[in-house]
Amino acid sequence: MKKFLSVLLLAASASIFVVQAKAQVIVIANPSVKASEVSKNDLKDVFTGASTSLGGANVVPILLKAGTAHEEFLQAYIGKNDTAYRAGWRSLVFSGQGTMPKSLDTDSAVVEFVAHNAGAVGYIGRATLHEGVKVLTIK
């Protein structure tokens, strides 16, 4: 019984951790992007190259090279692992239908780039300072 309760407690802790982890990534945009709220599908379309607009305006996705926020973003909004995700982009590149989005090393580099480039949309860890950008609400 004790063993069972321990396992249950461990599972509950793990699920709380997962819920908290999912909440750790936020989507940011340059203030020129009119939309403040976007659907999960629209966000996925932009970050997989299927679409280049949010709320009728042209946008440019900015990626993180790796890290927790990157993995969480892919899991929560794209539904692919990093290898499959980048393979999708390379398919567009090698068939002449797209250019690979810029990948930056750190969350703060993403904030810096998004803040200074019209139409840029990126994602960062919630704890990162994000002055000069707007946070998009994902429906």
Binding site: D45, A50, S51, T52, S53, N58, V60, G79, N81, D82, T83, A84, R86, A87, G88, R90, S91, V93, F94, S95, G96, Q97, T99, M100, G119
Partner: protein, 402 residues
Amino acid sequence: MYSKRIASGIIAAFIISAGLHAQEFKIGKYEVQAHGFGTQGYIKTNDNNWLTMQTSGSGSGVFTDAGFNLSSQFTNKFRVAAQVYSRKLGALGDWHPQLDWGIADYKVKPWLGFRGGKVKTVLGLYNDVQDLDFANTYALLPQSVYPIDMRDAMIAHEGGDIYGRAKLPRNLGAIAYDAYGGRRSDSMSSGYPYELKSSIAAYLTHYGGPVYGGDLRWNTPVKNLKLGMSRQNEQITAAGTYQGAPYAESSRHDWTNQYYGQYTANRWHAESEYKRYYRDQIVMSGTPAAFDVDQDIRGWYVGGGFTVNKWLEGGSYFSHYRDFFGGTLAGIITYADAATKDLAKVVTAKFTLNRFTTVKVEGHFMDGAPNEFYPAGFYAAENPQGLAPTTNAFVVRTGLSF
């Protein structure tokens, strides 16, 4: 001997990939991206030689291709890019580097874009991405719909496309369209010129002509379900020599229809396509042997895959090819309903070693070996003893991309 080469190839690919990264540099104020890919394959068959390779006996590793591209996004709307491609597949390809595609692309709105130059032809799910080994589950796509020996025939056109994507009202999903017109110009080291050369000693110097068509795909309200259809019309002319005299071919009525659907769910994907190529041409025109080819080639497949973990994906497809061939020589029907067929059952395992490297191991179990005046994988030149009714093939393919 080949097993050592395969192992060495995989190890080399893994080591090389560790140092691979897409390169970015600047020309003036514009950033330029450089990307590349390459694959090395090996095929061993139990009987018939396949895809112009000597695959029976100890097998063949003459199955290599590579591509390299540069692209620059000048503005949010305007992009220029080009790719060079080279391959060697048995007797095909001969390592002749060719401009795979080279485009200028202007996207006015999400629902309206223009692309001009040499453009990859969108036809079905995979025509424009068939070379991208890393993106596909299978080492060889279903040959009934995407014959690798005939890759050059439909891969690209010189001309222009109008394309776009729009959301439909009332949550009906989204549609993407692509309409194009231009010219097709086949490589002389591709499947059909080789078939003519090796079977009747006709040597082509030109094969191609105007093409136009389109693709319409619907991302349905059912999450992750895609349906689509493609159409291509063409007006082919061919020129060359046959027994010292001029040889020519010309289309009377040539078209291709392709219908497809794909569903993805978490780790699963399933897809199916049906392709019908109708070929009505005057062959060997201008000679006493001129005849009217009336050919109806139909292929379809059903396939799918399951991602076990980030290293491993399993997949399988069932593929069917049938060629209804008819013809008239001096008004007399010489071939009527000479149908040939090929059923293929395929199982594959795809190993993703890292972000840049994949290795695929695949088994093909084919019933039928079509060889009826149009290439379908099995060529008389490599099978002078005649064709056995069934063929089993073991395929290994390693791919690198960055």
